[in-house]
Symmetry: C2
Subunit: 404 residues, 2 copies
Amino acid sequence: MFQLNDNYLKLPGSYLFSTIGKKVREYQAAHPDQKVISLGIGDVTQPLAPVIIDALHRAVDEMGHRETFHGYAPDLGYEFLRTTIAKHDFQARGADISADEIFISDGAKCDCSNIQEIFSQDNTIAVCDPVYPVYVDSNVMAGRTGTYDPQSGVWSDVIYMPCTMDNDFVPELPKKTPDLIYLCYPNNPTGSTLTKDQLQVWVDYANRVGAVILFDAAYEAYISEENVPHTIYECEGARTCAIEMRSFSKNAGFTGVRLGFTVIPKDIQRDGVALHALWARRHGTKYNGAPYIIQRAGEAVYSPEGKEQLTKQVAYYMNNAAVIKEGLCKAGYRVSGGVNAPYIWMKTPDGMTSWQFFDELLNKANVVGTPGSGFGPSGEGYFRLTAFGTYESTLEAVRRIQRL
Amino acid sequence: MFQLNDNYLKLPGSYLFSTIGKKVREYQAAHPDQKVISLGIGDVTQPLAPVIIDALHRAVDEMGHRETFHGYAPDLGYEFLRTTIAKHDFQARGADISADEIFISDGAKCDCSNIQEIFSQDNTIAVCDPVYPVYVDSNVMAGRTGTYDPQSGVWSDVIYMPCTMDNDFVPELPKKTPDLIYLCYPNNPTGSTLTKDQLQVWVDYANRVGAVILFDAAYEAYISEENVPHTIYECEGARTCAIEMRSFSKNAGFTGVRLGFTVIPKDIQRDGVALHALWARRHGTKYNGAPYIIQRAGEAVYSPEGKEQLTKQVAYYMNNAAVIKEGLCKAGYRVSGGVNAPYIWMKTPDGMTSWQFFDELLNKANVVGTPGSGFGPSGEGYFRLTAFGTYESTLEAVRRIQRL
């Protein structure tokens, strides 16, 4: 008689963004005349850049003729895209990564959640707190996290590394030694970053204790300051301890197009077996490649026109971030992020909980954000706003918050 | 110190199609003048139908304007596609499946390999032998298959159900009771099918013993005979025991486009928990939806023009199948399949092993097929040819085999 994967049943019921959606729908139903502005979910709003649209049309035409039709893609992705990525994202920054260490996928969310599969069931994970929920949830499903305490929101076998205003959102090295360390910089949800020196501390630590860093660099395109590494492979020694995951969702607006990649240097090994070989086997067995037309769109991102058009798109969102940050500061809020990331992370006023402030903002300003407590225990008392709206709606949202 | 998922290390080293590729490359290098024809890998060769190309172009244009841009897709897939599928593939055949029981994905391979995740680690799987390797391999990776015997090619904890000419490729109910039963009809690799009555036996059995049938119907479009079910939900009682997986790869040539779906009726439950809820949670946590433009292409498959154009495409391949089948029969081979499936399954002549015949065919006829033993122990002594080549190359390949 079949049985369920019990680990799934341990997951707390309601997912953050479903609860937000429900509250917004209820408010709208009760107040049909009010125009609610969402600065909540991290989805982009600008259309695909012309260079991407052109690349897609060209690739679609290729698929319509026998001579240029493309069937199954290579498991690891087309050479044309992997070579382009290796050159622009890594070699151009002095990072020693080759095309055959890059695995093309349909997005960073899949890679972030699947990567834990190639590690032992007994490995212990460490995560920043607050954190993007997918890292923990995918490990819950795999049975790696112990038991959940609904009061504290804490899993017994997960190492949490608090990131709050008190430590300027820079996690301390954990007291208990982890096997797998999830780091996301620029950070979702706090919008913070690490300098190269700060990240080097983590690389050295991982190499020393034999841990692997799972480095989520989905927001790399938003880095504006010097001395912030664009890839973990700018750090000395990262080739023996770090896996990096990247997305096209936020730098090129691919949230509905789906493309990402994971870098696994061949130097990360245990007992003579390379993690690269395990991930290659997973790709070959459980995946059938990203669509040809979308890999061509990915290639266009790196063309001179692509870079020009997408720099403007990122600047558009970062202007929104500046509008939010300055507006909230003027209104007396304590705000961080928004400089190297499209996320603004604010302290809730008057000791309100994250959800109390959510309700206040929804009911009194008709603005939707994301309660910080949804990202982990140390997110309580914080609130996230995103820069992915239109300029007009962002401006209006900030005015409304200022009027509160 | 991080450790590997040891289950990956249990997988036998060389993958079937890599070994084939290596042998072909070596032969070509030694005989650069010979033109090798491949009827090996199951990839399509015809370009996308005009109706699909048009739908893709239209959707790409939508992505280029703010008003019609689409970001993150709904986790389960767009309503327009799920409703269309429910109507055409199920309700039109009297199968009681609703749109919200359909989960859109990027292909049947991913779904076939991921579906095991929602079941207990202790569940025992049963597979036909020979079988599409992904079912077993994904369970090896999850640690569900015990130990491997390289001599026999058998995993200690897997229930094998032999399908050979002796039982007309119809598996018998297993002596040991499985929890999960993988069935693929029309079958890859044998090209055989089950009648509705034969499939009903399995549905009744699964309901009786509390097993779940994982039904891979990727080749449904190739069914040409009456009384062969197009979906398992044509059988009475399937809603309480069967999950069906579908692909757009073979009916619409989407091998390089990537689209598929899985049907999980809400009636499959254990201890009051629906498998539907677990799979929904998996989709929400580990997946970010199939691309909007590709879901629009999938919708076009079901339009009147789409049906007309794709019926012709399937007929093209099935004409190849007939050419192969008749040609081999005339040459005195014992051949099955090719009537309701794009695969021809032949007995090797003169007691040759599958790989001996592979080498003979490659060296003497310059034709590439797939050794049956690559699909499991009971595939030894068989050989698979596919109908996915061009008509011209198929005809030439058959002539060469006849001249052997």
